[in-house]
């Protein structure tokens, strides 16, 4: 499948932890200003895969990335590429909200300072909180500790601090899995609003969420090698979301989305 302006192109991408191949053979293009969902059963390597896009796998000493991943035609894993710069362009929101144990203002300001965007700090912080649909709830309590916010507010704060450093892409690793349905709906609404300006990749194991939210869906599954007792995540099918959910081509995709396994 191809799109006009892919932001990412992966070519036979894989990750291994020591001797264990967690994902392998991922070839896909990620479209600009679209939401791409990665779905699949537990252990299929969705989270491992999304962490390749901003080089977060670098933090795990045993992890080794194989194949290629091109960001706007630039290979992200060349030795001369600085992962710090990559992560400023490609932001990430995690499964469990992880605000810093500091004030709301400082949470957003940290990324700005780290990236040298220290001009008009208060305006930048306000702007980021507005884009993350959090400003009205916190504008009077910017000095309050971020840990006193609710889980949903904390997650939107994490989105705000990611937006503040003006990224190009936002990676979301099951951003709503720790939240209640109302907070989840707010995160989904937010993602929809943000896709005009950002390219979004979201990992989810909630199929309805992928169907509601995304433009493209990639279905991954686990290939089990019984003789070697190894489990490797592979990409089964990648297409427009409507197609994946109404006319899946692969019987494994169909089995998963109709709830027969996974």
């Amino acid at each position: 499948m191809s799109t006009d302006k892919p932001v990412f192109k992966t070519r036979d991408l894989g990750v291994r932890y020591a001797d264990n191949v967690a994902v392998a053979g991922i070839t896909m293009d990620i479209a600009e200003n679209q939401i791409t969902a990665l779905i699949g059963p537990s252990g299929c390597g969705k989270s491992t895969l999304i962490r390749c896009f901003n080089r977060m796998n670098d933090l795990i000493p045993s992890a080794k990335v194989m194949g290629e991943i091109l960001y706007r035609d630039q290979n992200l894993y060349l030795p001369e590429v600085d992962p710090v710069e990559v992560r400023q362009r490609i932001g990430m929101v995690f499964q469990k909200p992880n605000p810093f144990p500091k004030s709301i203002y400082e949470n957003v300001a940290f990324g700005l300072r780290a990236n040298g965007m220290t001009d008009n700090m208060p305006t930048r912080v306000e702007e980021a909180l507005k884009r993350a649909a959090l400003w009205d709830e916190v504008k009077r309590d910017l000095k309050t500790n971020a840990l006193s916010l609710s889980g949903g507010q904390q997650q939107r704060l994490c989105i705000a601090r990611a937006l503040a450093v003006e990224p190009d892409v936002i990676l979301m690793d099951e951003p709503a899995s720790a939240l209640d349905p109302i907070a989840t709906a707010r995160i989904e609404d937010l993602a929809r609003e943000l896709k005009d300006q950002y390219t979004i990749i979201i990992v989810t194991h909630n199929m309805q969420q992928a169907a509601r939210l995304s433009d493209f869906t990639a279905f991954l599954t686990v290939d089990v090698d019984e003789t070697e007792s190894r489990r490797t995540g592979v990409l089964v099918e990648y297409a427009e979301t409507s197609q994946i959910f109404t006319r899946p081509k692969d019987p494994r995709t169909e089995a998963y989305i109709t709830g027969r396994f996974g």
Binding site: M56, R87, G91, K96, P101, F110, A114, R161, A162
Partner: protein, 290 residues
């Protein structure tokens, strides 16, 4: 008919009572020993305690003897010890915990630091004598004494520093790095502030242990009878525990009261430091934890 409720349960309760009683006894033994020590020291030392005692120089007459040089000596060496061991210890802890590659070498260093923390303090005194007093020709000075105590507490500080860093959730590191922060920005602005309270508590407890150390200072040749107050890093010195040791070894019985007064002063210094540790910890822990 169902059996009566109380059947069989009394035996269980009796053994529980005995068990709790044994535990209480264990607590009381510790508390009683401490209470006996404090009461005997206070009853002996308080009458002898006065402004003159704090401000006078030692004397061969028990009623005139004061602890001023020892108090200042202790303050001097503890300052040197802290200024040396805290920055070096925290630096080593950060390197080992955040930067060093995990491998055979780092395991070897781990084991060695743990072992160093268990080396008897008098060995550090001999090390201080050979290294600082002789090799670096510092003489038996405040500087040499402070550095010797610094070496003594350094392994403990490295260990508490690493534990404090390890207790910081990795989600904080990931969150900062994912924003395009460098490793150093992540550590200095997010990880260290979170680790600081437990680190400081460990440091203050380690330093207060150093205050009570006598053996390494005697081994490196600190003075036992000093009639002047150290004024510079190169001056010779004595310290409170040495002064107390000196008084208790005098033949005259009156010096035992003087020693008790010295112990009270040392205890007050230690309690003040430990209280400071608790207060500092509280101040930094105002942050709610999720």
């Amino acid at each position: 008919m169902r059996p009566a409720l109380s059947a069989g349960s009394r035996k269980g309760r009796l053994s529980e009572t005995l068990f709790v009683g044994a535990l209480l006894l264990a607590v009381l033994i510790g508390v009683a020993a401490l209470a006996a020590l404090v009461i005997s020291v206070l009853s002996q030392g308080i009458p002898r305690l006065s402004i003159e005692f704090l401000t006078s120089l030692p004397s061969r007459f028990a009623e005139k003897a004061g602890a001023r040089p020892a108090i200042f000596g202790t303050l001097w060496i503890i300052s040197v010890c802290t200024l040396f061991s805290v920055p070096v210890g925290i630096g080593a802890a950060i390197y080992l915990e955040e930067f060093a590659k995990k491998g055979r070498l780092s395991t070897l260093i781990d084991v060695n630091i743990a072992n160093l923390a268990g080396v008897p303090s008098i060995i550090y005194g001999l090390l201080g004598l050979a290294l600082f007093v002789r090799m670096f020709a510092m003489g038996r000075s405040v500087l040499a004494g402070g550095l010797t105590l610094g070496l003594l507490v350094l392994p403990v500080i490295v260990i508490v520093g690493r534990e404090a860093l390890r207790a910081v959730p990795s989600s904080i590191r990931e969150g900062a790095l994912a924003l395009g922060a460098t490793k150093w920005q992540t550590i200095s602005r997010q990880v260290l502030p979170v680790a600081l309270p437990s680190f400081m508590t460990g440091v203050i407890l380690a330093i207060s242990r150093a205050i009570g150390e006598t053996a390494p200072l005697i081994a490196m040749g600190a003075l036992t009878y000093v009639t002047f107050v150290p004024k510079a890093l190169g001056d010779r010195f004595t310290a409170l525990p040495i002064q107390i040791f000196n008084w208790t070894s005098r033949p005259q019985a009156e010096f035992l009261d003087t020693a008790a007064a010295g112990i009270v002063v040392l205890l007050v210094v230690l309690l003040t430091m430990n209280t400071a540790a608790v207060l500092l910890r509280h101040r930094f822990e105002k942050v709610p934890r999720s």
